[in-house]
Symmetry: C2
Subunit: 309 residues, 2 copies
């Protein structure tokens, strides 16, 4: 029986009706014009009604993937920075509005669950998914189950420490992997480099306009041989490669799935990360490991949420 | 109904009859005089018969914890360095000899399972166990289940890399955590230091006899303020603290259990490791984390194996 999957971002709510094999039958999107819990629930409900009406089939349950911290099966978004929420019982609110059971999980867990069931993870019981986008995150699937952790915050690869006392991360702590490798920080580091005047290549690529910088700008400057850009870019590749390889050595998954906008759009960085993983993973854990790229793109979270619903 | 637990080491086989609560009713030990699979199976069977006879109750199944690599539920010791074995179907051999089902798991997994069910992990569904003895190992219990990995080698914390291209580890790879922090390597590093003549304190503690060195010798020299000893000791504490904290950040367990001879017998090192974990674990994963010491000592593997059997 089809279920409803919701992907709740900071600016949009997407809804899809998904069949048991993870195929999207119909989908709809609503912009979040207002961010009060009531308004967001209403936007989700409208997107859901639209998707269900387009699909023309009944749905039996609903899964929601949302950025933030969700303890256990509480259905509560304890911390959701994108929406500015604290302790919002989104699961219960949405369940009352939609008249069906709702399961709420972290957005990366939903995306990983989608890839595991209907994407690059099909057929493997133990999967590790690493995402590098604006932030750095991951998800563990072990014995065919999501590992969510006792507080619902498992997977926080981006906040593992790479340099104790190092660069300050968005989370407030020092020396996190994300502070050197997350998309927001790569943009920040590239802007600092442009402002420093140490990179003529960056100046040319951006015509001096810092707003044009994306993580790909850094990659292009590094490819053009700009020494300062090479340094930042290669450090990010090495740090990600080592952090991911160490997780593989301890988890011994059958499959590693790489995803997220930065890894997907920066082939040079992705290459460096994969080289690092190949070089640093223990031989025993590397045997039989398949490294794959995420297959479902932006739909992974919608599909995974629906399959959990 | 009680079950039989076997702890297969490199020099002894221990057997115990254990009740469903993890209480040892009786135990026995046999030295391994010969190491052929047939001889080892015979020694195990003798220890088992003795334990069963002492307990005076029937047993319904058997679990074995053995050092080595055991793919999935194969019952095969694919690699067992202590015994010099490769691809020995110990589970099937022992099952035929004992006339009951036998489940074979890695020794650290058995020990962790014992602590999880009957020791320092009781009541927590998500537990991470880190052992520092001759080697460095760990075990993940997530959603109440052992995480064994697709090749049966999950948990290999000792072979995560801390310094790419660094010191050679016993496994043949470079820069592994164990190469700096495992008991064997701490002894090796301390002997090198004694031989270098750079540590008058070590010379006094050991009367120059390298064979007297244990990991505790290094700790004593460091406590006495010997600068070179302090450096090795403090590096080991920092590396272990960072490696374990990063696993906690990603796994978000309710409990971390510290065990193994080196950590248990060297309070200074243990203190440094705990300080590192407190300082470097992400705030969200540290919330609600309880750090505990292993409670069952040498019996954890026997108890855990029996509870798996």
């Amino acid at each position: 029986m089809p279920t409803l999957g919701i992907d709740l971002g900071g600016t949009n709510a997407r809804a899809a009706v998904v069949d048991g094999q993870g195929k999207i039958l119909a989908s709809a999107k609503m912009a979040l014009t207002e961010r009060s819990p009531e308004a967001v629930v209403e936007s989700i409900a409208q997107a859901a009604a639209e998707a269900v009406s387009l699909a023309g089939v009944p749905v039996t349950g609903c899964g929601v993937g949302a950025a933030g911290q969700i303890p256990g099966n509480s259905g509560v978004l304890a911390v959701a920075p994108n929406l500015g929420w604290r302790n919002v019982p989104l699961g219960a609110l949405l369940s009352a509005r939609l008249g069906m059971p709702v399961r709420l999980v972290n957005d990366l867990a939903a995306a990983a669950w989608g890839e595991f069931n209907a994407g690059a993870g099909r057929g493997a019981p133990d999967v590790y998914v690493a995402f590098v986008g604006s932030g750095v995150g991951s998800c563990i699937i072990a014995n065919g189950q999501l590992v969510r952790g006792s507080g619902g915050v498992a997977g926080e690869l981006g906040h593992t420490k790479v340099i104790p006392g190092g660069r300050r991360c968005g989370c407030g702590e020092l020396g996190c992997l994300e502070a050197y490798c997350g998309g927001h920080n790569l943009i920040g580091l590239t802007r600092e480099l442009l402002a420093s005047g140490r990179s003529p290549v960056l100046n040319e690529l951006t015509a001096g306009v810092a707003e044009r910088i994306t993580p790909l700008t850094l990659e292009r400057a590094a490819e053009a041989g700009d020494p300062a850009a090479v340094e930042i870019h290669s450090r990010a590749g090495k740090m990600l490669g080592m952090a991911i390889s160490n997780m593989i050595t301890v988890l011994n998954p059958a499959r590693l799935i790489l995803g997220g906008g930065v890894l997907m759009n920066c082939p040079g960085l992705r290459r460096a990360v994969v080289e690092g993983i190949q070089a640093l993973t223990s031989n025993t854990a590397r045997e039989g490991l398949l490294i794959a790229e995420a297959e479902l793109g932006d739909d992974s979270g919608l599909i995974g949420a629906a399959l959990l619903g």
